[in-house]
């Protein structure tokens, strides 16, 4: 028997006799003989603890814990630190260490518990600064936890760090405002009022403004007004408060006050375009259309110069509706459509004007429009000679000629049309090949000089509007598409393309839609494309790519970051065109919108699956599944997509698990049952005979009855 074994035996005997002191000595010798014997070192620490030798116990435990940590046995280290906490619960460093290891292990809940206990400890010891540091660490660990964030704000406030408390509260409010949770807003207000006594400090003004915005988001405009007025009593030039106040008045439909609030803002900065626009909109809402137009006309140039014509579109459309005879309004609206590349609407507007020439001439002469970066559509208009039948013919062709065959492309080029522009328009509006065939025929006819007797603009409208309706249809906007077709038929009496499309809409012809989309993807795929593009020369293809890039750049300049709906639609369009990276970029932009978040994650995931970036796709879907406000239907849909992804990725077990989650909630969802059955069969989990209770062919020998 070795010396160590003898000592161990002696220690056992002493322990049995209850002689802990002697056992400690034995273990001390054992540890001295073999310094690496961690188990017995731990035993020694336990004995120290039992014998009330706290310091010795802690020191010994610590060496054990360090050993475990250094060797990557974090769970064991955690257990040892826990023992140390039992020996002396007043040592903050133990809580801190435990929290840190838990974080390393991904055990966020446990880490927060440790921090929470440490917080209590510091508070009981009056260590306010230390408590604050811990709260900051807790917040960093769980940034979405409203309660922790509120505690942090409260602690800053109590520590007289008013500015930091205010920053923290603003951050909280900015997080809850998009979800419009009135109860959460009221809770925050309660905390602000009861726990942060310095609410009348100027540092707290941003908090009160943010609180007002939150109330406004929850449909509580009157409470918002009340808060903002109290802010303005002390700080009458607070532009944020004034701006929010104007919005609140708008929400309350108190437009006269909205006008005067914007008036106050303009007194502070007469050059602010946005406030001018707000002022004009308020006038418009108040029924002062002429005055609104006057204001808009004054600031129009500024918006154009900044490439923000789209921002004025809605107001001008309203004015044009209310004052249809007003030339100024029409001319400005045409210029806006030109900048935003909305060809269909521009043609609509032009065709409804009794005398087109002056209006179009003004566009051509509009130097402001020339000075801004033109869109593909803008280029077309600006570069061509103004108006009348021949130009309209060319523009009509630009919508109708698809690159179905090189001959058509060449013909288009020969007739003086820029190929880039032609094709880009095709991309933008997602022409149906079938429709464009007909249309291109008519365009060819027109180009040959065989002009129809009916007025030219009617032919242009028909093609453009069918095209627009087709675009709506492909985007799934069936009502809009149907309305467009019906309006066209009503106007023209007979329009085969519109009738045809209306039939498809009536049948909700999904197959046709898919086929159309497929065709479009093939026709517009940027690289490696087959089909119609295959015949193009490299030079033409690179011109196409360049134009596509210009087109996207043009769009980026025109669409504001907050215009989520447009970015979302762009994302879908890019996805259908096979421009997956661009689609993902658009969906990423829309993620900030809680209403669209899940849709975007789903579509992003689908794009990543198409790119075969399976791991990233899984992350996207799982991010969606972890979303707090996820609805049941969305959850099912995400699990189903995840299942499809795993199947694509050849991971049948994970696929089965995902489909099973779908079936648990809704076994009739799509073909989830077939998927499960197929996968179970593939994995050998089923016995089709059904006679074997366990479903395992060899179970007969494995089950017995006693």
């Amino acid at each position: 028997m070795s010396k160590k074994e003898k000592l161990l035996a002696a220690a056992q005997k002493n322990l049995l006799k209850g002689q802990i002191g002697k056992a400690i000595k034995d273990y001390e010798k054992i540890v001295a003989i073999d310094a690496n014997d961690i188990r017995n070192r731990q035993k020694l620490a336990e004995l120290y603890s039992r014998d009330k030798m706290a310091e010795m116990a802690l020191a010994t435990y610590e060496s054990v814990a360090k050993h475990y940590e250094d060797n990557g046995f974090f769970l064991k280290a955690l257990a040892v630190y826990k023992q140390m906490q039992k020996v002396d619960a007043s040592k903050p460093e133990l809580y801190q260490r435990l929290a840190e290891i838990n974080v390393k292990q991904g055990l966020v809940g446990n880490a927060l518990t440790e921090y929470h206990n440490l917080l209590k400890l510091y508070r009981s010891q009056g260590e306010t600064d230390e408590a604050l540091k811990i709260l900051d660490q807790m917040k960093e660990l769980d940034p979405d936890n409203l309660n922790i964030s509120l505690q942090v704000a409260e602690a800053y406030s109590q520590a007289q760090q008013t500015e930091k408390a205010a920053d923290c509260l603003v951050e909280i409010l900015q997080r809850i405002t998009p979800v419009a949770d009135l109860q959460a807003v009221e809770n925050v207000q309660k905390v602000i009022l009861s726990k942060c006594p310095a609410t009348d400090c100027p540092e707290f003004n941003p908090v009160m403004v943010e609180l007002a915005r939150a109330f406004l988001a929850c449909g509580q405009a009157d409470r918002s007004v009340e808060l903002l007025q109290s802010v303005l009593e002390n700080d009458s030039q607070n532009t944020e408060a004034l701006l929010s106040l104007a919005k609140s008045y708008r929400s309350l439909a108190d437009h006269s006050k909205e006008i005067s609030t914007f008036g106050s803002l303009l007194e502070l900065d007469a050059d602010n375009l946005n406030w001018h626009k707000g002022y004009a909109c308020a006038l418009l809402a108040d029924g002062q259309t002429e005055q609104a137009l006057g204001e808009l006309e004054k600031l129009k140039e500024g918006f154009f110069a900044e490439g923000r014509a789209a921002d004025l579109k809605e107001s001008y459309e309203t004015i044009a509706e209310q004052l249809p005879e007003n030339e100024k309004a029409v001319v400005s609206l045409q210029a806006i459509y030109e900048q935003t590349g909305e060809g269909g609407k521009l043609f609509d507007l032009m065709s409804t004007q009794p005398d087109e020439a002056p209006a179009t001439e003004s566009i051509a002469e509009d130097e402001t429009a020339d000075s801004v970066e033109p869109t593909s559509f803008g280029e077309l208009d600006l570069e061509d000679e103004p108006t009348t039948a021949p130009d309209n013919l060319e523009q009509s062709s630009s919508f109708e000629v698809e690159a179905d065959s090189p001959v058509e492309v060449e013909a288009a080029q020969e007739s003086g049309l820029e190929f880039d522009e032609l094709d880009l328009d095709g991309i933008e509006f997602g022409l149906d090949t079938e429709c464009s065939d007909d249309a291109s025929t008519s365009a060819d006819t027109l180009l040959d000089g065989d002009l129809p007797e009916s007025p030219v603009e009617v032919a242009i409208d028909a093609a453009g509007e069918v095209e627009e309706a087709e675009f709506y249809f492909q985007q799934g906007l069936l009502t809009e598409a149907a309305q467009k077709c019906q309006a066209l038929i009503d106007r023209l009496g007979d329009c085969p393309q519109a009738k045809q499309l209306l039939d498809r809409i009536g049948k909700n012809d999904v197959t046709g839609l898919d086929a159309g989309q497929d065709k479009k993807v093939v026709a517009t795929a940027p690289s490696g494309a087959k089909g119609p593009l295959q015949g193009l020369e490299d030079r033409e293809r690179s011109r196409l790519d360049g134009s596509l890039s210009d087109f996207k750049k043009g769009l980026e300049n025109q669409v504001s970051a907050e215009d989520f709906e447009t970015h979302y639609n762009l994302g879908i369009a890019y996805k259908e065109m096979g421009l997956l990276d661009d689609a993902i970029e658009q969906f990423d932009k829309v993620m900030a919108d809680p209403q669209r978040r899940i849709d975007c994650l789903t579509l992003k995931g689908a794009c990543l699956v198409q790119k075969e970036a399976f791991e990233d796709a899984v992350s996207a879907f799982k991010e969606g599944l972890a979303y707090d406000a996820l609805k049941d239907g969305e959850r099912i849909s995400l699990y189903y997509e995840l299942g499809l992804l795993y199947m694509e990725w050849k991971q049948p077990l994970e696929a089965l698990d995902s489909f099973q989650c779908v079936a648990d909630a809704d076994p009739f969802f799509r073909n989830v049952d077939d998927q499960i059955r197929q996968l179970r069969k593939e994995l050998g989990l089923d016995d089709d005979s059904g006679g074997n209770p366990s479903g395992n062919g060899s179970d007969k020998n494995r089950v017995s009855y006693i």
Binding site: D664, S694, G695, N696
Partner: protein
């Protein structure tokens, strides 16, 4: 014409006979299976799954057996059918299940044979697992001591045998007959009856597996089924089966709440819905369910 045909089903969806195709992976079943598999995979020795009558213990035991492929596990399921069993008997049966061809009659030799066989299994890189269903029938201290002995079969730092008990909550009483054995329970999980949401999913799942292409139960029928069955799967099966038959007799395309009430009335469930009982007292709940199941079996 059978009722299955009437509803466009390929087979009867609510048979109480065990059938792997109908396995419903509820959250608690998923969780419990994960834990039990973890216990086996990490050589924890003893794991216990308890649950009230009809909560799916046997189904889970069969499922677990399915999840133990023969290339990685030497596993078997022993179903206790009576309580008068002796330690020698169970030892012999376990030895036979593990492939001891001629089990010795004396206990010591038998244990040696079993140990050698377990060593062989271990050397082949597999784990030995024995699942015991209806473990509440192991009611003697001798039997519990025998299991403790089996759990002691080990090589340095490694257990040679893993045991999983499936049974009613009384299994805990059996384990307490041998306190050291009770202390060796490494993993324990309890199955509960279904919530109304899970009941809905369960019914839909079974219908789907049986080939349904629509919801045969009206929306208001399922909460009623849950109320009368207390969310006990076996009772749900029985009531749903009868509801489908009743609906077929009445030539109804969909089972509505009136059919459920009628069936519940036939089974004497109207007076005291089980969910209320479950809320009032846990123990009487079990007795109630047991009595009901007995009476149902008699009627069937």
């Amino acid at each position: 014409m059978s009722y299955a045909e009437h509803y466009g089903l390929e087979r009867e969806p609510f048979s109480n006979a065990p059938d792997a195709r109908f396995y419903f992976n509820s959250e608690q079943h998923r969780q419990s299976l994960q834990r039990l598999m973890y216990a086996v995979d990490s050589n924890k020795g003893l794991a216990v799954l308890i649950g009230g009558i009809g909560t799916g213990k046997t189904t889970l035991a069969r499922r677990m057996l399915d999840c133990l492929p023969e290339d990685r596990y030497e596993s078997s399921l022993l179903v206790m059918v009576h309580s008068g069993i002796t330690p020698e008997w169970i030892l012999t049966r376990i030895a036979m299940q593990f492939g001891v061809e001629e089990p010795a009659s004396d206990k010591l030799s038998l244990l040696k044979q079993l140990y050698d066989r377990l060593l062989q299994i271990e050397e082949s890189g597999r784990r030995a697992v024995v699942l015991i269903d209806e473990a509440q029938m192991l009611q003697t201290r001798d039997l519990m001591e025998e299991f403790r002995g089996l759990l002691n079969l080990e090589i340095p730092s490694k257990k040679l045998l893993n045991i999983v008990f499936f049974g009613l909550p009384e299994v805990e009483d059996c384990l307490r007959l041998d306190e050291p054995l009770a202390q060796r329970v490494a993993v324990k999980y309890q199955l509960h009856s279904f919530t109304v949401e899970t009941t809905t999913s369960y019914i839909n799942h079974r219908l789907k597996i049986a080939g349904a292409d629509r919801n045969v139960f009206a929306a208001d029928a399922i909460p009623a089924i849950h109320r009368f069955t207390g969310g006990v799967p076996r009772l749900i099966n029985t009531i749903c089966d009868n509801c489908l038959f009743e609906g077929f007799m009445r030539k109804m395309e969909q089972v509505d709440v009136s059919v459920v009430n009628s069936v519940a009335g036939d089974f004497g469930l109207l007076k005291e819905p089980l969910t209320d009982v479950a809320q009032s007292e846990n123990h009487s709940d079990l007795t109630e369910i047991e009595n009901l199941l007995d009476s149902l079996e008699h009627k069937i």
